[in-house]
Every structure is written in C-alpha cells, then in structure tokens.
Amino acid sequence: MLKGRTNFLFILPTLILFGIFTLGPALWGFNISLHDYKLVGESPFIGFQNYGRVIGDPFFWNAFKNTIIFALVVIPGQVILGLFFAFLLTEKIKGRGIFRTIYFIPVLTSWAIVSLVWMWIFAGTRSGLINSVLWTTGVIAEPIPWLGSASTAMLTLMLLWIWKGLGWSMLIFLAAMQAIPESIYESAKIDGAGWWRRFRYISLPSIAPTIAIVTALVTGGALIGSFTPFYIMTKGGPLGSTETIATYMYKHGVQFMNLGYGAAIVYFVLPICLLIAFIQIRSLSREAKF
C-alpha cells in the first residue's frame, strides 16, 4: 500500500477538478436556494423562505409521493432481476455472449431515442404497437391509453425504467460473480447443491458489497435521476400522475425560471437521499467470505 500522504498527492488532481466542477457548483446551488435568484441584477437574500414554500406546496408532495412509489418498484426490480439474469448468464448455456449483449443494448441506447420508440409502442390509439397486437388477437375490446391514463402511465414508465436499467446492474453483478472461484461451484455441485443453493449460499454472499453499491446507485438514479423519459413521454401528466421530484424541479428551475425555488427543492430532498444511501450501504455491505 502507498503511504497516506503519497496517496493524497496522486488523487489531488482529481480532487481539484471535482472541487471546481462538482462540489463548487453544488455549494453554489445551495446558495441559490437561499435567494430569490435572478439571472440579471440583484438577487435578494430570503433565508429559508424557499424551503418553507416547498413544505407547503401540494404539487411538490405529489411529486415526492410519485417518486417514492416509483423508487420502491424500480429499485427491487432492477436489483433482483439484474441478479437473476447475471446468475443465469454465468451458467454455461449456449449463446451466452449473445444474451449478454442483448440485455446490455438498452443501456447503451440514448434515453431520448428509447423514449420516442416506447411512445410508438405504447401509443394509446388503436394503431399503437401493443394496442394493435392486443386488439387483433382479441385480448382487449378497446385500446388501452398506456401513457394517457393516470392509472397506467406510471406503470409503463416503471417498466421502461427497469427494462433500460436491467442490463447495467446485470453487467456489474456478472463481473462480481466471475471473480468467485469456479472451484467453489464445482465442489458445491459434487456435494449435490442445486442452482438455488449455489445462488443463495455462494453467489449472493460473495457479491454482497457489490449489491450494496448497485442498490445505492440505482436508488440515487430513481430518486433524483427520474427525468428524461418522464419529460419526453408524459411531462408529468396525465393529471400529475408521473410528476417526479426531478421533473418538478426542472419545471420551476428552468421552465418557470424560479431558480431559487428549484434549487430549494433539490436541497430539500438531498438529505433524505443521503440518509437512504447511508442506511443501504451500512446494512447491505459485508465483507465477502469464502
């Protein structure tokens, strides 16, 4: 290992860049949240007034509720399904490489393109891809407004989010699982352990720290990053059912130019996200033991 001081010198350039381009703007954002911020001219300091407005804003709490529900579905979805597919693809099955590639393609595709394609697929009119398939096969009598109804729009977006993010968590889990020595699996097989036991007692405990990190990152993504497909596909509608913290913050910060209020929304949610991430990492991460 390197000595502390030497280590520090090596990461210093990165730290400087991180400070200038990430930490600095983030702190400046907090400063903005304390002002009635204007792009031109004086911005009056108003203390925590913006935060008071956040607490009393029913639209914010609607967005907050939607975001939490969204996160509660997509986080387990992405982690559990990611684990499942990663485990399947460590087994020696035919065309393993092709499957790995297929599951990873959505991750590489841009959100904007994916969103537009899903709008075609889930169009609420009869000519929408899914509707026309369901209708011609007689499953439905009337077209389902997938993105146009308050009861199905969020479900559709959850499905999209899990589908697009699945390949990413799968890949990380796959990499972690491949670090487990093959001999352990082989001796387990000789001892008569089936796939579930191999998964439960070998794979899972070995990659627990990876699961913790992936869960924390996926949580951050769902809580703060749930923006692009929402903004492109539903813009928070219908009837506010897909408004998330991120889309609501964007509306105020960029569309309405209430910069101080937009910043306050972010800094109101930030401690909650940090707390969740902290709990997750503490409770999930254990040293891998063989």
């Binding site: 390197l2 169009a123 109804s149 509608g237 509306k251 569309q255 130019m257």
Partner: protein, 426 residues
Amino acid sequence: MKEMRGVAPIAIAAVIIVAVIAAVAAYVYLTPPVEEEVATIKLWHTYSPHEENTARVLLDEFEAENPNIKVTLEAIPYGEMRTKLMTAIAAGMAPDLLRMDIVWAPEYADMGALLEISDYMAAAGISSDDFYSGPFSTCVWKDNVYGLPLDTNTRVLIYRTDLLQEAGVSVPTTWDEFLNAAKALTKDKDGDGVTDQWGFAIQDGLVGTWQFGPFLWQAGGDVLNSEMTEAIINNEAGYNALKFLVDLVQVHKVAQEPVIIGGWPGQWGMMAAGEVAMMHDGPWFKGILEGMDAPMEDIEIALKPKGVQEASVVGGEDLVIFTQSKHPDAAWKVMEYMTSEEFQLGMSEVGQIPTLIAAGEDPSVAGDPFWGVFIQQLETARARPVHPKYSEMDEIIHRHLDAALAGVEGVQEALDAMAAEINELL
C-alpha cells in the same frame, strides 16, 4: 502493489498539476487581445440546417455591403436553448442576437436582459404598423419594445378530403358546422361498439394555451384582462369555450382526451392512418405527415371555424438584442436587415412566414395556395399572454384543461381554479 518510495510519486503528481495550471494560464494570458475593427455579431438560432443555409446566403450579401460587420450563426436545438441561454446570461456571455420563441421575450425583457429598441426603430423609420399586429405584440412589455418579430406561424384547420367526401360534409366554417361535421365524421366502421374514426383530434402537449387559446378567443374571451392585472379566463366567454371543447370529448364523443392521443405519433399518426378527419396545427404538419407516408393528396387546409369571432394563435420567433452585447449598434444593423422585405421574402422560400406585412402580401406568399391560408389566418391570430410569467400560467391552464377534458373537474370549476392560480402569479 509494490511500495513506491522517495520523491518519485510526489514528483509525478507535481508535474501533472503544474502542467495543467500552466496550460490554463497560457490559454488565458497568452491569447493576444484582438483589436476589433470588424464587429462580430453572434446570433443564436433554432433554424433547421436547411433554413440556416438560406439565412447564411442572405447574410453573406449583408456582410458584403457592410464590411465592418460579421455575423456568425450558431444553431442550438430548441430543447437546449433555455438552459444554454440561462447559463450564458448568468456568465455575462449572452449572444448579441437571438432568434427567440415569442413567448420568452417578455420574460427576458422583464429580467433586464434585452435591449429596448424604440430609439433605433425611430431613427431607421421603422414602425410597429409595418408588422402584423399579433407577432409584433409579443415584443412589447410595459409599453417598451424589446425586439422585432422575425418569422411567424399560426394554426389552421387541417382535414382529410376523402373522409369528408365519404361522410358527405363540407369544410366547416362555424362552430355549429364544425360540430355537425365532427359528428358525421366519427364512425364505428366495423360495428364492434368502439369508435374507429374520430371527427377531431386535440393534440397532447405542454402547451395549454396553444390548444385552448383559439377556442377561447373565438368565443370572445381571453386569459387576462387588457391591463394584465387579473385573469378573466373564467368569465362567460371562457365558459362557452371550454364547454364546447369538453363537450366534443365528453358529450358528443367526437374527439378523444388529448392524453390518450399522446405527444407522439399523436394526431399526425392518426391523420396519416385515417383515424381522424380534422385537426389543428401549424405549417410543419406537412413535413411530419410526409414523413409518415400519409396520402398527401387527400389532405387540405382551411381557416379555423369561427365562433363569436374568428381567431387563431400566433407562433414563431422574435429577434432580440441582449444588453450584454458589446456591439449593440452593429447588432441593430443586422436586425434591421433580417426584418427587411429582402430577407423575409428570401426566408419565405424555405417556409418561414414573413412578419412584415409588405412581405406577407407579396404574391409569392399571399398567392400561394398553401401559405396564403396561413397569411389569411394570421390576420385574426392573437398572441398568448405577453407576460413574464407566461410559462407558469400555461402550465396551470394545461393542468386544469386536462382535468376538465378527463371529466375530473367541472367546466366552471376548472376555469375558476385556473383564474385563482393565475391571479396568484400576477
């Protein structure tokens, strides 16, 4: 890892840091300050590449006549313009000129970011009467003029001639005719109890006033009073307008809720597939439908049906000068040229509708069977509220419009809620 000892790692790190700092310093201090004899005017726009090429050719002519002014065009996607512009203004690096969505102008004017141009106009002998009143009104905030309308557009009625013929209806010119036509055009073709063809489509989108405004004005109403001190959207005219629109969906069932149609492929996809017979849109619908292989020979346009009065909504762009510009005089010269008949007629060849009446009345525009309809509709087209808080107002209108069309809120209830929330902003 093998332990590294001594000064080697420290030296490597130090060299990297010093190199980075030196490079930045060299860039900042060693770039020689250019003595400018030629004023370079930076113009940000949202033209398509095709439109930009035409603008470039026209501006080359301007540069040839004005050798001391150089115009650089920078294309920015509409979706990124707002964030990019806000960042630039905050950094004191706004462009000299910007081709700006008309609904943004009062917001940036109120902020103090835009240059007041009345004196320039007076000196050049340019009058507000030279322009169509709808587009020009978008440049005015508190009796000051902050830009000139560069190009404009409006929404007209678009219909499928084959479907109208099949149903035996003529092109509607009034609300009553429109409703009757929509009823005749709404059909359950295979008798399964589900509508296969709709009379009218209300396109989904964030733009509440863009959809609802024309109906509101046709009924004789408006969003705000003329002093812009109070919302009047919930008066009797407002009620008639929203009732008419909601009844199309809820009572007569000749149109779907906009959220069902969705943003994309939306009304265009339906019209291309013959699932809807009539819709409202601006001139860009043509390119979209062509891209969807729609039967273009069956698609025609007409003026919007009239309510108490004729009306449509003004779209398009204003040209504005930023107060941060270092060459306001040169920027004005460019602006004067771009709002001249020469430039406007040149751009009309690539589908930019002139804002200058003299250019709009030119036979090449007014006499065109397609553009002529838009020019005619422009005479009754009105601007959405020219107010710095327009974006927020529009969101309010959009939200309650959706709720009313879904039947979640009653017509008067939705309008009263809009008025109350808008009044809070004023």
